[in-house]
Amino acid sequence: MTDEVAKALLSVRNLVVEFDTRYGPVRAVDDISFDIFPNETVGIVGESGCGKTVTGLSLLRLVPSPPGRIVQGSIILNGSDLAQLPEKDMARLRGDEISMIFQEPMTALNPVLSVGEQMTDVLRQHRSITKRAARDAAIDMLLKVGISVPEKRIDEYPHELSGGMRQRVMIAMALSCNPKLLVADEPTTALDVTTQAQVLEQIVMLQEEFHMAVILITHDLGVIAETCQRAIVMYCGNIVEAGTTADLFERPRHPYTKGLLESIPRLRDERIPELPVIPGMVPDLMSLPAGCRFADRCQYVQADCRQTPPRLKVSDDTRSGVACYHPLNQEPGLVRTPA
């Protein structure tokens, strides 16, 4: 186990993120642990409010504070614990070792600075290079993310670009210092399907070219199936299941994962009268049930599910696991409880 963790690029352990609200603190992320290995693309999937975005933000220590704060847990990247790092050192890492792109590129880009000014800012912050060299590097990056005539585009402002183009600029900026880990939070949700296809293809290509690990946060299981090798499913601030994409889609073990997969409308050969649904709705984070948080909506629920919350049981290589007392598609001998 120690060897495996040592090989991981990023190790998150027992992370808890809280937000203060009028009614008291709310745990948006409640005791999650996972590893990301070099050169892999891992999806984090879940519905609104499940904590996937907060997870992504806390990896870069970007959780708005106040009201949010990391209460507990460690985020080990390359041997140093990001949760404990002084802000000055953290700023040095951001955009260099670890980068993030956001859902809405128009709000993430600065509207009063040209593309070139924003891009060279990043480079000059982290590398000691001349303005001239930074500009050349920026043009080079824009070309890599598939922007045509980058020498012209670099002097344009965000409002002059289309949505897909803005997201490409964001990607170019995030990758300009060759990060080891890219966190992409719903990078294609605001885009049309044909543009989404272009941008996803670009991310996959760049992931290979830059030898980086990518965490892709999305609500879209289709995007996960097509771009990620592994995925983590979140529900109510917990990780309920993790595994290879193939396993998750073909042999989901958590009833929530199964329900989610069945309920999405997908292209079929025959029209079906009604979609299978997950009944009910996500519980309020302020008043969570005592046991499993999915129990009230679960068709396989049993008495013990309502006693104590199930913990994520992970496999030896920490790459897959499920938090359920009665998992589906069980393969004996595969799971064990960590100490």
């Binding site: 609104s48 299981l221 289709g222 073909e250 292209l267 979609l275 709705m281």
Partner: protein, 332 residues
Amino acid sequence: MSEPLLKVVNLEKHFPVRGGLFSRVVAKVKAVDGVSFELGKQRTLGLVGESGCGKSTLGRAVLRLHEPTAGQVFLDGEDICSLDRNALKKRRRDMQIIYQDPYASLSPRRLIGQTIQEPLDVHKIGTPEERKKRVEELLDIVGLRKQVLSRYPHEFSGGQRQRIGIARALALNPSFIVADEPVSALDVSVQSQVLNVISRLQREHGIAFLFISHDLAVIQHVSDDVGVMYLGRLIEYSDSGSLYRDPKHPYTRALMSAIPIPDTKRRAKRIVLAGDIPSPTNPPSGCPFHTRCAEAMPMCSQVVPERVNAGSAAKPHYVSCHLFESSPKVPA
């Protein structure tokens, strides 16, 4: 299709673009540019396209929520566009709309009961007791409990709000509803619940829908017929089975291949389109899609393709593309 419930002929909606000194009209956006289709009783036509293709504008122009620039809309044989204010108001009972954003479409200061009952009040239908009874009936149809009536919109989740919006649209017992991206703002697990409510309305209440969405999978799930829009035009239009089995227009084919499929075993070959959708203020000459089309021929940039029937006379499959030139032409 016998006598259609809704018949739209050459509908156009142009928006002026003002600019320069004295805000003169400097250009126009052809948001809907000559669209014709028919919708049979108790059927659902799915309209699909990317943002800015004019699908929402079309939906609103059909209801005259946007005054069409040209063209005709017949509901049960009556030309909606020629009606005066009073006559239109009466006619609106038969045609309703469900909006995309359940947060913006309900008045925050009004109780849910008032919101759902409002159409009945406006059209002065029934006695107060009858109205109350009808509202409770509506709640039952969309799967909400009676207790919600005395609560405010902010107390509800997106899915519940969308059910409330649906109940309001149903209040007057319409024969036809425009559903403008009704599930796009919802989470996956809630989306399927709301889609099932809509399926039940189709089946049990025989309501015809013009269902607008950017999501081809959602469209397939609810539609009998499907129309694909690009830059204000309906470029392909046929029954759902034929369109999904055998998409003709290169744009439809690219759109279908671009959908990420939530299945690791079924990975389709993807046609990635180059470039972005051109601006509708200044659409390309000839076929609007020729700038991004992999199969574009020299004539595509010059001649606007006419609508042809690439299917059979009994099962028409309309497409506007020069690749299908040899198929019989269809007068718009």
